[in-house]
């Protein structure tokens, strides 16, 4: 009884989220809805007696895999959304046909296996406790496939590392090296680092150059990227109206 209440509340939520995942435009929204679908799946697993699987589903998929997805997606800005133009001609009908076919296959298979039948053997499988039962299966009957899968995953991780790795030609300069370089470059102008952007007490945006003591702008205070892009605001408008540069002799 509680299980069916849970099912009728969480089921529709999961389906709506799954459909939303396909239909929303922003990639981050889509990823979030997928994370929600995974959490509802975990609820179902737990309700059906697979406690360990449910918790691990959240730890691994929601906590790690989806987080990595988000990590990448976040590098795309807030208002970036997927383009809906087809890059390969005829891709959409093929994809829709394949999806419907696969879905139909799954529904009919699972339906034939479980519709109108009572599931049996759960108590037997969980007799020694859910975790213990699963551990026993994994490390006795299925130990070979388990190890093969882990070897596969390690190979994949190694492969990714090898592909992304590059040999440095010169060792990376440490903080000390950089500091020595600044002091021995012959000029002390940048020894303490470049000046920060912004006009003191008037404006502190990154695209406004700092003012030098005589009132002129200091282009070195703007990031190289912004400077080449031309995203620089004239800082003279933030100058004080009358800058008195004369030094008064104190009596």
């Amino acid at each position: 009884m509680p299980e069916s209440v849970l099912f009728w509340i969480m089921g529709p939520l999961a389906v709506v989220a799954a459909l939303g995942m396909l239909l929303v435009k922003k990639a981050v929204h889509s990823a979030l809805l997928l994370a929600w679908v995974m959490i509802t799946l975990a609820f179902f697993y737990i309700a059906q007696g697979a406690l360990f699987l449910g918790i691990v589903q959240i730890v691994v998929y929601t906590g790690a895999v989806m987080m990595l997805f988000l990590f990448i997606l976040m590098l795309v800005g807030v208002d970036a959304s997927d383009s809906l133009t087809e890059t390969i001609r005829g891709l959409r009908p093929i994809a829709i046909t394949a999806a419907i076919g696969f879905g139909g296959l799954m529904v009919s298979l699972i339906g034939r296996a479980s519709l109108g039948r009572e599931s049996v053997g759960l108590d037997q499988a969980n007799a020694a406790g859910n975790v213990e039962g699963l551990a026993y299966q994994l490390f006795s009957t299925y130990v070979f496939p388990f190890e093969v899968v882990s070897a596969l995953l390690i190979t994949a991780a190694m492969g990714a590392m090898v592909l992304a790795h590059h040999q440095r030609e010169v060792p990376r300069s440490t903080q000390r090296d950089l500091s020595e370089q600044r002091f021995r470059s012959g000029s002390l102008a940048t020894a303490a680092g470049l000046p920060g952007p912004g006009v003191f007490a008037r404006h502190n945006a990154v695209d406004v150059p700092a003012l030098l003591p005589d009132g002129t702008a200091a282009p070195a205070s703007i990031s190289e990227t912004l400077r080449t892009r031309g995203d620089m605001i004239d800082s003279s408008q933030f100058q004080l109206d009358q800058v008195n540069t004369e030094v008064k002799e104190e009596k």
Partner: protein, 404 residues
């Protein structure tokens, strides 16, 4: 009766009362924690700290909370509105959930009903805490992304990378606890520490957990996600009013949460320290809660002490420390613990155990020496010579060295 059997007899209203108690305790603890942190840090920096509102300044955080709630609530124009609102809600709801599996007392009588102060006792309780924590990170990451500005985004990215990395080390440090107690349920882990606390038996695991819990909660010296010197406020730069208050609340509840988990896993949970076991029956068993909260408070003091003492780490050093030190060390330690456990279960003689420990010590010493040699070699490699500066440099006392 074991904890899980006792909890199974709880009627619905008792569960409701426990839930309310968890919520109320966490909120009150947050208020006290903020006050305690400000007072202790002030003490460490030789200034009085908040001492005006209420006795000893105790009501300072309450008045700050009221003030925060009355502030104007801003939503930036560039923000993704739905997620901007959702993020603090995710943060503030998940942080409470971990407390559902933490046993706070032994057997007590609550309104005439025999029970333990633990909402539910599932066989994978500790994993459940990790799962909830990993969902909680979504709050921070989404807050950073949805603000639509650069500093929060950097804070969110840092936070997600940081929490994923340190959760690996944290999970690995828990494995040896599971091996020793033979269970992943919090109440059984507490029961397994009847004789020796795991902080003593599994000291390396305890140290690794203690370090990674600071990384996991984004606290100094690992608070790179909100490093104010670099990122203004990090992920919560754009947040104001109640939404910011929710992040603040989540932050402190999380600290109490990881401290409570550390207490449960390594410091014997609600049990009295060795030699004081007779106190556990005082007040009809409720005295155990005092031991529990005393241990949590000790952990909280550690957090504050760290914040008052250590400067913030540089981001690359922090990541290197996690991946190149904590994770390999905990993997090695798991191997040692698992082998020792197996040897003792198979009834190996004392000499066998001694030989094994000798081998482990030899390996550690060898690695240490190898590291030292590598360091020396790196130090002795000639550095690229740079031309002498043409501006005046004062005479150095140590003229032999070309390093300034």
């Amino acid at each position: 009766m074991s904890n899980s059997e006792l909890i199974a007899t709880d009627p619905g209203w008792i569960i409701l009362v426990k839930g309310l108690l968890v919520f109320a305790t966490c909120v009150v603890l947050t208020l006290l924690a903020i006050w305690a942190e400000r007072r202790i840090v002030a003490r460490m920096q030789e200034r009085p700290g908040p001492n005006r509102v209420g006795p000893l300044g105790l009501l300072q955080s309450l008045s700050d909370g009221v003030k925060l709630a009355l502030k104007e609530d801003l939503i930036p124009a560039a923000a993704d509105k739905i997620i901007f609102i959702l993020a603090p809600i995710i943060s503030a709801t998940t942080c409470f959930m971990a407390f559902a599996v933490i046993p706070v007392t032994g057997q007590v009588s609550l309104f005439g009903h025999q029970t333990v102060m633990q909402m539910t006792d599932i066989p994978v309780g500790v994993l459940y805490v990790l799962a909830v924590a990993s969902v909680g990170v979504y709050g921070i990451v989404l807050a950073g992304w949805s603000s639509g500005s650069t500093y929060p985004l950097l804070g969110g990215l840092r936070s997600s990378a940081q929490v994923i990395s340190y959760e690996v080390a944290m999970g690995l440090s828990l494995v040896s606890v599971f091996i020793y107690s033979g269970s992943m349920s919090t109440s059984e882990i507490v029961a397994a520490q009847g004789q020796w606390w795991f902080a003593v038996v599994l000291f390396p695991s305890f140290v690794i957990y203690a370090i990674s819990m600071v990384g996991e909660t984004n606290r100094a010296p690992f608070d790179l996600a909100e490093a104010e010197g670099e990122l203004v406020g990090g992920f919560h730069t754009e947040y104001s009013s109640l939404k910011f208050a929710l992040f603040f609340l989540a932050d402190y509840v999380n600290i109490v949460g990881v401290s409570a988990l550390a207490t449960t896993l390594f410091l014997g949970g609600y049990h009295a320290p060795p030699g004081l076991g007779f106190t556990e029956n005082w007040l009809g068993g409720w005295f155990t809660a005092i031991w529990f909260f005393a241990k949590v408070a000790a952990f909280f003091f550690l957090f504050v002490w760290l914040r008052g003492t250590l400067p913030r780490m540089r981001y690359d050093q922090f990541m290197q420390f996690g991946w190149k030190v904590l994770i390999p060390v905990s993997l090695f330690w798991i191997l040692v613990v698992a082998t020792l456990r197996l040897l003792s279960q198979q009834g190996t003689s004392r000499t066998g155990l001694l030989i094994f420990s000798g081998i482990v010590v030899a390996i550690v010493m060898f690695v240490n020496v190898a590291f030292d040699n590598a360091k020396k070699k790196k130090k002795n490699t000639p550095r690229p010579t740079l031309s002498k500066p043409d501006f005046a440099v004062p005479e150095l006392p140590n003229k032999g060295s070309d390093r300034v």
